[in-house]
Amino acid sequence: MAAHAHTVKRYRGLMDWLTTVDHKKIGILYLIAGGFFFLIGGLEAILIRIQLIKPMNDFVGADTFNQLITMHGTTMIFLAAMPMLFALMNAVIPLQIGARDVAFPFLNSLGFWTFFAGGVLLNISWFAGDIPDAGWTSYVPLAGPMYAGGHGVDYYLMGLQIAGIGTLIGGINFMATIINMRAPGMSFMRMPMFTWAIFITSALIVFAFPVLTVGLVALTFDRLFQANFFETGNGGNAVLWEHIFWVFGHPEVYILILPAFGVISEVVSTFSRKRLFGYSSMVFATVLIAFLGFMVWAHHMFTTGLGPVANGLFSIATMLIAVPTGVKIFNWLFTLWGGSISFTSASLFAIGFIPTFVMGGVTGVMLAVAPADFQYHDTYFVVAHFHYVIVGGLIFGIFSGLHYWWPKMFGRVLNEKLGKATFWTFFIGFHMTFFIQHFLGLIGMPRRVWTYLPGQDFDTMNAVSTVGAFLMGIGTILFIVNVIVSAANKKPVADDPWEDGRSLEWSIPSPPPEYNFKQLPLVRSYDAWWNEKQKGNTEMPPAEPVGPIHMPSPSILPLVMSIGLFAAALGFMYDHLIVAIGGLVVTFGSMFLRSVFDDHGFHIEPEEQEKGVHA
């Protein structure tokens, strides 16, 4: 029997986590790592706000401040926000589409470990004392070898390069997963909205991240091997970097926000007990946003001097994005309309998201007006705008999703009282910090300033903003307390703890067994689980008989490959070619091993399934 041809490989304890290829565990790893970096980025934000609490403050110096803003931006976007999204993707997508894992479990693990290696590499710059300080956009010539000596920017380049591999792998993996591994009956137009959002996000990743890779390679060559891509003195072009960065960078912001849109769609619909209003227009709007997202990068460069034709075109293209986004907002509002809305922590974050994101969205349209952007650009108005969409949009979305799917991920419900306290402190703190920054920008405060002179009317507003930042910090701490409290609570959780679950993940135990679905479900409609419940069914109709379930083997190779890349990066940066080559040998050697030795995985027999195999 083929089913018995391979021995079952399993590890325990730490080794289990280092070798796992199970999407649920990888999701948890992403969450822990992303959460950790979120705390670091948050701490950096608090230090930034303390420095700006009063004029000519000397809490941190000019150098340190520039390092803090650079690391805050880079950490929050690449190491906190994206991994936490990947955490939700991993935890939820295979369950929502009725699959037993992602398409490439090994790659999934590799994606996590390369991201983690890149993140650690970037952050050890704090210990090396050589910290990137040219902003998260790393504009040249400031980030070039002449003006950024030392290895600070090298950490940025190498860290993002390695972390970027992880993201790209993840994008490819989820595209393949969603295309190929949907349960029988789940056509594209029956996919839950979160799955749609992740599908489109994955496509964005696949198209946008290679651009970043190219840019990072070019700048790395400039810095390490005296190439002249961006060296203006030798005929290089600094504006080229801006183009490359934003051709990646603008889709990146949609990579961040589309998954949050997906989360909000799920949460709003579940907690108002209503089908998502205008599902097909939601899908179409998301596709359109993603498409337009590639057409608007130069609105980050209105003041670069591209001329009126380019500025005019990119103005109008940017404004157009407001239309599909507006469609989504109204669809959410009309999902709530006529519903039966319950205010759980998850739905509070989702409901807080809607007006907050609208405020971030309308300032986005204002920024699209190129001549007016000449005034807004690089001021605190922009800082306020993108924090409204990234914190008020994405982070609210992540908090909402975490409260919503926590029972499915961990088999524990988060404490509702603490959850609501988290929401209110974070929500109020957020608006207090950032609303006022719009006005700071309008009255002439540029962004990325480590201090400001007194007597410019900036003082009071900055102080208020700092107080708000502390409130956000308290909100985050409350969430951590909640996680600890809920971990101590051993009460088991129902399969469908919100009782109004609509998609497939709520039809299986919380947390799900290693193989997710004992029998793959047969999907008969959109909102499949909800409709089965309405028909009086207590489980999904199966699409296959009970039988041995094929599982992938765990592997330590992804971790080893990432360590190899990590070592190679350090070797190149510090000019120790032996270390660099050694690192690459480890990575490519692991790839060789992986290619040469086939591992066909193992099977879980029906008898074993009866005992209940928990992940």
Partner: protein, 357 residues
């Protein structure tokens, strides 16, 4: 057309209210909300138009949101299942079309201004030509028609178009006088020189800033734009071209020539150098862009600056009495090591470099 105008008319009172609200805060010489010239005014008009439209959107969304949350909240023990609605074509068309109309109202004047504000007056004999070169962390202003160069204080005549040609001597900066008009980047390298025109209808001093992260002292890279009458401007041009006497004291002169003029220029001496031109520095608004001469005397500010330049503007390219330059292309320029007498003498001499205009 008719329809659009009606919407616009309805927006007018809202816009007026917004404008009033917005102009309530900030300094007149710094805030984008108190425009002091036609360019900033045009941009401010677009800002109020867009803020008004957006306020309308926000109000509508908030109203629906609040209504929905109150009206459709779940009552205790309510277990009814609401009607499952798939969508509504009429509604969906409405909230697609209305935003498109709002965007048209915003888009047309946007395109109009994009082209209007990018006019090039560099061939216009009526316009004053100024070449701006940004450096870490100071601004150089050259008037090619008059053959003069100055730094930190941009002097312009009122009532004429000022056409700027902007580039950078090192990293990317951005030239911004918020109350006069929006910013433009100054790029380094071939083919990336930018153009911008501004107008200064009123006499006065307006604050300028660097708006692109350019290194440690980015936040301190301020400058001033001083608009004066045409006659006064002509007198300033003449005064800038007048010969400048060296310090009378031999020791001070020697120190000034060997320590300062190795990089700076004054009058005809050393013109074309890479550090701020010192001609008429005694009558500038500030020393170093941030030490205001109306708060302390020029001489005091100069002494402070020459002694502690590296502390006042960390990472700038000028060494001070005891600190080397440790960053950027000036890296390795050693401390000036001026004695107290030399420093006092130089400060006094420079403070006396006032221009009558």
């Amino acid at each position: 057309m008719m329809n659009r105008w009606r919407v616009f008319k309805r927006l007018l009172p809202l816009m007026a209210g917004m404008a009033l609200l917005l102009s309530a805060c900030g300094r007149d010489d710094l805030s984008t909300l108190s425009p002091q010239g036609p360019v900033a005014q045009k941009q401010f008009d677009l800002m109020t138009l867009s803020i008004s439209i957006m306020a309308l959107v926000v109000v509508v969304v908030f109203a629906i949101c609040i209504y929905v949350l109150i009206r459709f909240r779940r009552r205790k023990g309510d277990n009814t299942v609401p009607k499952q609605v798939e969508g509504n074509h009429t509604l969906e068309i409405i909230w697609t079309v209305i935003p498109i109309i709002l965007l048209l109202i915003l888009g047309v004047p946007t395109i109009n201004s994009v082209f209007g504000l990018s006019k090039d007056y560099s061939k216009d004999p009526e316009a004053v030509q100024v070449t701006v070169t940004s450096h870490q962390y100071w601004w150089e202003f050259e008037y090619p028609e008059y053959g003069i160069k100055t730094a930190q204080d941009l002097i312009v005549p009122t009532g004429r178009k000022i056409q700027f040609k902007l580039a950078s001597g090192d990293v990317t900066h951005a030239f911004w006088i918020p109350s006069i008009g929006g910013k433009i980047d100054t790029n380094a390298g071939l083919g990336t020189t930018n153009k911008l025109y501004l107008e200064f209808p009123k006499e006065g001093v307006f604050r300028g800033k660097c708006a692109e992260l350019c290194g440690p002292s980015h936040s301190l890279m301020d400058f001033k734009a001083k608009a004066v009458s045409q006659e006064s401007f002509d007198r300033w041009v003449a005064a800038m071209k007048a010969p400048v006497a060296m310090p009378a004291d031999e020791n001070v002169k020697a120190a000034f020539e060997s320590k300062c003029l190795s990089c700076h220029a004054i009058g005809e001496t050393n013109a074309g150098s890479a550090a701020p031109n010192l001609t008429g520095i005694g009558s500038r608004q500030t020393v170093g862009g941030i030490l205001y001469n109306d708060e302390k005397s020029v001489e005091e500010n100069l002494k402070n600056w020459i002694a502690h330049a590296q502390t006042i503007k960390p990472g700038n390219q000028m060494p001070d009495v005891s600190t080397d330059v440790s960053y950027g292309p000036g890296k390795g320029t050693t401390a000036t090591g001026l004695t107290q007498e030399e420093l006092d003498g130089i400060a006094k001499y420079l403070a006396s470099q006032k221009l009558e205009y």
